[in-house]
Amino acid sequence: MNLQPYIAPTIRRVCQTTANPQRLGRVPVMDAIDGVPVSRLIETHGSPLFVFSEANLREKIRGVRQAFESVYPNVTFAWSYKTNYLNAICRVFHQEGSIAEVVSGFEYEKARHNGIPGNQIIFNGPWKSVESLRRAVSEGAMIQVDNRDEIVALARLAEELQTSIAVGIRVHVDTGTHAVWSKFGFSADDGEALRMMTWTRENTRLRIRGIHCHVGTFMLDAGAYATATKAVVGLAIAAQEAGGALVEYLNLGGGFASHARLHGQYLPPEQATPGFDDYASAICSSIKQGWPEGCPLPKLYLETGRALVDEAGYLISSVVAVKQRRMPDANGALAAYGKGGPTVASAVRAYGKGGVANGLGSTRRNAVVLDAGINILYTTAWYQPSIYPATQTAPGMQPTTVYGCLCMNIDVIREEAALPDLKAGDAVVMHPVGAYNMTQSMQFIAYRPAVVMIDPGRRVHLIRRREVLEDVQGPELVPGHLAETEQPTAAIGRHEP
């Protein structure tokens, strides 16, 4: 006999939001990633499991290069290590011609370990230790100075070495789209950056050869890059006229949006996210229009990270428990729009009718607990990943709260995702999760999962194994007086003489 898949018997009161069970549409099943069945990935590598598509990584970097190289003669992309510094990921981008962009001595070491020579490393960040600067200088890295203290530190180093050091200077620009990132660099709007360039030229052995401006992150308005680029071009011309610098390169940083969806974002990513051509046009047109005629165009560096790696990353996870979540009597979602009045049930009760008692007098919502938590999905603080069932399930979507596995009430991956009825053991796939979740995840309560990469030939490669106890407690030291363990039960049973 052909047995049907089992879903528990459940009942929910219908309220405004669930009256039409078709309103949530259909969520497609994702039963394979790059042609490899999700069930096979779990069987081989366990759940949860991060999966990266090498084909998608290569497609993205080739796409963004094509967009820029078709409109500008001299462009180099630098892989943003902080977005994802798994060595396998970095090496894909390096194979595709990207140099490295790092923001700490640790990342610098990783880039060198991945075979990138110092002169192909862009060294960013608001703090660089003297030791890391010394190494970067000796290896010819492209240091982007962020603040006066760093200029002074580099000036001392140049005196000590009796040599000039070529650097770039980081600036910030008010693009009118969001709060200015004034944490980084010098203001290009009020003359601060120009003054520092001139001062540096007149008082140190540093030679400013580039200007760096990273306007922000997840920029949904490509026009912000046009504003920033015009300001940077203007600064380069002013600095040259003032004798402060001979600018050879412009670095417009990163910040291109991926197809992730921000909390509260109305339009779907397919409509809201600019294409690479939009960013390329905004930046390159602004340079070409503003750069003095007859002067060779400056080299252009770009450090985009999220837009190149986010969609290559998936997280497979499994349902470990199913719950019915009791929701507040008023419709919270509609209340936000001033329409969250009393429910039908409470109105009926007001007329002495309505035998609806206790929990079912309120709305209920499906809820599932997954075997992955927000400690490995740091970006869920800002973005809501799509969640797809990995197997064919019961028809009909329900608003579903998706909890993580942590013993913490804040561990909510999605407050409301459209999912079919699921049961313990069912697998789901979250996407896109490739940006920042590797580098910002924290070990907490459970071991972090394995990471695999699927190559274009559908071969699956383990690129980070699942953690084990020694990974967590390896750096720990136990003081001598605590080194000898004593069984608590023995201590309880022993009587003082």
């Binding site: 219908v14 069970p21 002495g352």
Partner: protein, 84 residues
């Protein structure tokens, strides 16, 4: 005041194939899962709890203990509604 006569009997409920349940006494509507619909219909026919469980186990890929646990929780919900 809610009197005895206001309570809905199981057989009064109106069900459709997609799991939509209408309680004519209160005017409330409910959505049940496929197995929930199977349970409600069986109970309307006068089936015992053991018979409901057996029917689910026979037709679904699931252990009996799981079904028993879930059906008991479902019946508890129905009692909260005054249907049992």
């Amino acid at each position: 005041m809610t009197g005895e006569t206001d309570l809905t009997r199981l057989e009064d409920l109106m069900l459709n194939e997609r799991g939509f349940v209408f309680d004519p006494n209160t005017g409330e509507s409910y959505q049940v899962s496929g197995t929930g619909l199977l349970c409600l219909r069986a109970l309307q026919r006068g089936a015992s709890i053991d018979e409901v469980v057996a029917q689910l186990v026979t037709s679904h890929d699931v252990e009996r203990i799981t079904v028993r646990c879930d059906v008991d929780a479902f019946l508890w919900d129905l009692k909260q509604l005054g249907w049992l």
